[in-house]
Symmetry: D2
Subunit: 262 residues, 4 copies
C-alpha cells in the first residue's frame, strides 16, 4: 500500500515543508539563519514591529538571512493589541516589501498571557481582506471562531496549542481536531509548542502545518532543536497518513477504548 501526500498549499504556492518558523529571540542573525536552515522551513514569519526589514536602512536587515528567492516571507503583527495597530502594521509591511500581501494577523488581548483578542482580530481581518491582503490568522482554539475567520475570507487559520512562549503543547486536542475537521482552508497550529513531540501530536491530529518560534530559539541548542522539529513535523505527518493502530487497554481487547479512558 502506498500513501501519497499532497504538498501544503498557501496563497497559490505549494510547500514541501509543513514547519513554519519565526525569527525572534535568537542571539544574532547568524544563529537565526542556521536555525532556519536546519528547520527546513520554507515560510518564515517576521515581526514587522520588532525586526528591521528595511525600516532602518543603515542597520543589518533581517531579510539578508532569509532571502525572498528562497523563503516565503510571512510578515506578522506581533505586538499589536488593537485592530487599528494591526492594520497599520500590515500596510507598512506591504509598503516595505513592494506589495507583498501575505500576512499573519495576530491581535493580542493582554501583555501577560498573549492570548488573542478575537473581537479585534475580526475587525482587523475584515479591513485587511477588503484591502486585498491574504490573511493567515492567529486565533484561540475555539471552533466557532475558527470557522468565522475562514468564512470571512482568511486563507489559513492558525489556532494556538497553548499561550505564546508557554511550551505547554496542545492543551485541548479535541478543539484542534474539531477545527481541522470543519475547515476547508489550511489549519496550522501556532504558539505553545514546547518540544518535538508537541509538534508531532499537532500533525497527527491532521493539521496542515505548525508554526513556532520560542521552542526553537529558546532551546539550549536552537539549531539542533530546529532539526528535531523538522523531523517531528515530518514524523507526525507520516504517522497521520500511515493510519495508526487503535488504542486499546491491551492487545487482546475486542474493541478500541471507549467509555472509560484517561
Amino acid at each position: 500500500m502506498s500513501t501519497a501526500d499532497t504538498p501544503l498549499a498557501v496563497a497559490g504556492q505549494t510547500y514541501h515543508s509543513r514547519l513554519l518558523v519565526g525569527t525572534g529571540k535568537y542571539r544574532d542573525l547568524k544563529e537565526t539563519q542556521a536555525a532556519i536552515e536546519a528547520s527546513g522551513a520554507e515560510i518564515v514569519t517576521v515581526a514587522v514591529r520588532r525586526s528591521n526589514i528595511g525600516q532602518n536602512p543603515s542597520e543589518p536587515n533581517l531579510l539578508d538571512v532569509i532571502p525572498p528567492h528562497r523563503y516565503t516571507l510571512l510578515p506578522n503583527t506581533a505586538g499589536c493589541y488593537s485592530a487599528e495597530d494591526a492594520v497599520r502594521t500590515c500596510r507598512l509591511a506591504r509598503e516595505l516589501l513592494d506589495g507583498h500581501d501575505l500576512m499573519k494577523l495576530e491581535v493580542l488581548g493582554d501583555e501577560k498571557t498573549l492570548f488573542p483578542d478575537l473581537v479585534e482580530t475580526y475587525k482587523a481581518a475584515e479591513v485587511l481582506i477588503k484591502e486585498g491582503f491574504q490573511i493567515m490568522v492567529y486565533t484561540n482554539d475555539d471552533p466557532i471562531a475558527a470557522k468565522r475567520l475562514e468564512e470571512m475570507g482568511c486563507i489559513a487559520v492558525m489556532p494556538l496549542a497553548a499561550p505564546i512562549g508557554s511550551g505547554l503543547g496542545i492543551r485541548n486536542p479535541y478543539n484542534i481536531l474539531e477545527i481541522i475537521q470543519n475547515a476547508t482552508v489550511p489549519i496550522l497550529v501556532d504558539a505553545g509548542v514546547g518540544t518535538a513531540s508537541d509538534a508531532a501530536v499537532a500533525m497527527e491530529l491532521g493539521c496542515d502545518g505548525v508554526l513556532m518560534n520560542t521552542a526553537i530559539a529558546g532551546a539550549q541548542d536552537p539549531i539542533l532543536m530546529a532539526s528535531a522539529m523538522k523531523k517531528a513535523v515530518e514524523a507526525g505527518r507520516e504517522a497521520y497518513l500511515a493510519g495508526r493502530i487503535p488504542r486499546k487497554r491491551y492487545a487482546s481487547a475486542s474493541s478500541p477504548l471507549e467509555g472509560t479512558f484517561f
Copy 2:
C-alpha cells in the same frame, strides 16, 4: 553551540539508530523487509517461538530478510509464560544461531494483558546470565524492579510504555524517568507505543532507545509508519539533547510551572 550525541552501545557494539523493531504481524516477508528497511533499525527482534529462524529448514527463513551482516539479531522469548519456557527458548535460539548470545527476555504474566511476570523474569534472568547470555530484559515500569534487573547483570532494561499492542503510549512518564535516572545500563522503552509522538516522548524523557512492533506492523501503511517512527525517534533524541524551553503558564511568567499543573 554544538551538542554531540554518542551512539547507543549494546553488548560491545555501537548503533546509530535508536529504534529497534520486531518482525511479527506483517502480511509477508516482503513487507517485513521493506518496513525494517524504512525504519532504519539496526537491531531487529525475532520471536523464536513464532518465527522460522531455521527450525523448519524447508520453509521460508525469516533471516533471509534480516541478514546478520546487516542487522543485529535480537531473539526474544515472546509467548513464554514461565522462566523455564523462556530459558529453554533462549537455549534453542543460541543453538540455531551458532552461539549467538544476545537475547531479549520476556516472561509474560497472562495472555489477556501480556503484562510481564517479574518473579518468573528474575528467575529466568538469573539462569540465563549464569549461562553466559547477554540479556536485554522486558519489564514493567517499576523503578525498583528495573534496578534489580540491572544489578543482576542484565545489559539493558526495557520497561513498557503500556501493555504490548495497546498503542496507549507512555502511561507513567515519571516512572520511566525514574528508571532512566537511576540506571547505568541502557534503558529502552518497549511495548505500548502507538504512534510517532509516543516514540518522541520516550526519547525526550532521556531513554536510550525504543523498541516496537505492532505500532508499525499494525498501521494501515506499515512502511510509511516505519519511516515516521525513524524520524520521531531521531526528533525526540535531538530534542532531548537540544534542551527544551521550560513549561510556563505563559511566556511572561517569572518561573516555570510548579505547584498546580495538569
Copy 3:
C-alpha cells in the same frame, strides 16, 4: 487552624450551595424534583424554550417542582443561535416570571458541538444589560472573552469545562485558572462535567460554583448522581480552602515539580 468560607453571592443574594443544576432530560417531573432535592442546589436553571414555565397554562408547569420560595430560578436561553433569539427569550421569561431579571445567557454556535458563539453572545449581553437584566453568561474558556464579558457588566461568567453534554471534564484547566485569577465576579464552570471528580477538580481550581445538567439527568441513577455531585462540589471547595500538599515526584524531593511533568 480554621478556614472559613464565605457564601456564594449572586445578584445580591447569598447561597450555601455552590452546585447549580438544570432541569432538562429527566424522565418526568417527579424525578426532576427528587434529583434537584438530592443535589442540594439553591439555584436551578430552566430552558425557557423547552420548558413550560407558564406558556401553556393547561399543561404541567415545571415551576411546580421548583417553587420560587425555595429555589432561585435561573431562566436560560438554551436553543438560541443568535443574539436576537436570546434577547427575545429573556424578555419572554421576564414577562412570564413577573419581572424576574436574573438570566443565564447562552448563544450557541452550531447544533453539532453546542460551542458558544461569542460574537452573538456579546451582542445579546449588551442589549440585555441595557434593558436591566442581570446576566450570568455562558462562554468558552477564553480568558480574554471572559474578561470582556465581565467588563460589559455580566454579573457572573460561566466558562465551559468541555462541550455541553460531552462529559469530558475540564479540558483546559490552565484557561479556567486564568479566568478565575483575573475575575472580580463569580466564575462558575458550566457544561462538560461528566462525573463527580470533574466537579471536584473545578472547585479545586478555585471557581465559585459549577452548573450541570446532563451529568446528573443522564446518569443511570440520577438521584444518586445528584448526591454525588453535591458532595463532590463541597469536597472540591473544602480541598481548595484547606490548601493541598504540593505535587512532587516523590516525598523526599526538595522542591515541587517543575520543568518536566506530565
Copy 4:
C-alpha cells in the same frame, strides 16, 4: 431506580466509611484526633516503628486518641526495607496489641522514592500469612503482582496511586482498573493521593476504598482537608454506583469516544 451499596468488608468486619487514614505528620495528638474524626474513617493505620502504641509506657500513647472500641487499628510496617524487618515489626505489633492480627504490610525499595520492593513483599507476606496474620498489602500498580498477592492469601491489596507523599494522584488509571477487575478481594488505593478529586477518581474507577495520610496531615488545614476527603470518597463511590454518562466529543455524537482521545 435505586442503587444500594454494600459496606466494605475487611477481615470479617464491615465498614460504612471507605476512607482509611494514617496518623503520621500531624502537629500533635489533638490535631491527629480531630483530623481522624473529621475524616469519618473507621480503620486507622499506625506506623509501628514510628508511633508509641505501648513500646514506651511512660510517654503519650497514640492509641489514646484512636480508641480500639471505636476504630479498627491497622498497624503497618512503614520504614521497613526488608522482609525480615517487616515480619519482625508485625510480630511486635501483635504482641503489643494482645494478638491483634490485622496488619498492613509494606516493604519499601529505597528511601528516595518509597516505591515498594515486591520481592521482599512476597517473602514477608508468605511468612506472615503462615503465621496467621491477616495481611492488607501495599504494592505498586502492577496487575500481575496484585493478583499474585491475592493468590498468596492477602485479604486486601493496596496498589499505589503514585509514590508515597507525592500528591500526584492516580498515575496509571488503566492499571488500577485492571487490578480491580481481576480481584476477588478488596482493592484499596494507597499512597499518592494529593487532593479531593484524586480520591474521587480512585473511587470512580471502582476501587473499594482509599488510604491516605500525607494529603490530609500535610494540608494547610488538615481538619478541613479530612472533611474534604470524606466527602470526595463518598462522592466518588456514589458516582461509580450511579453510572456516569459516557464521554463523547460532543453531545450529538452518535457513539462514545473511541480511537482518538486524549
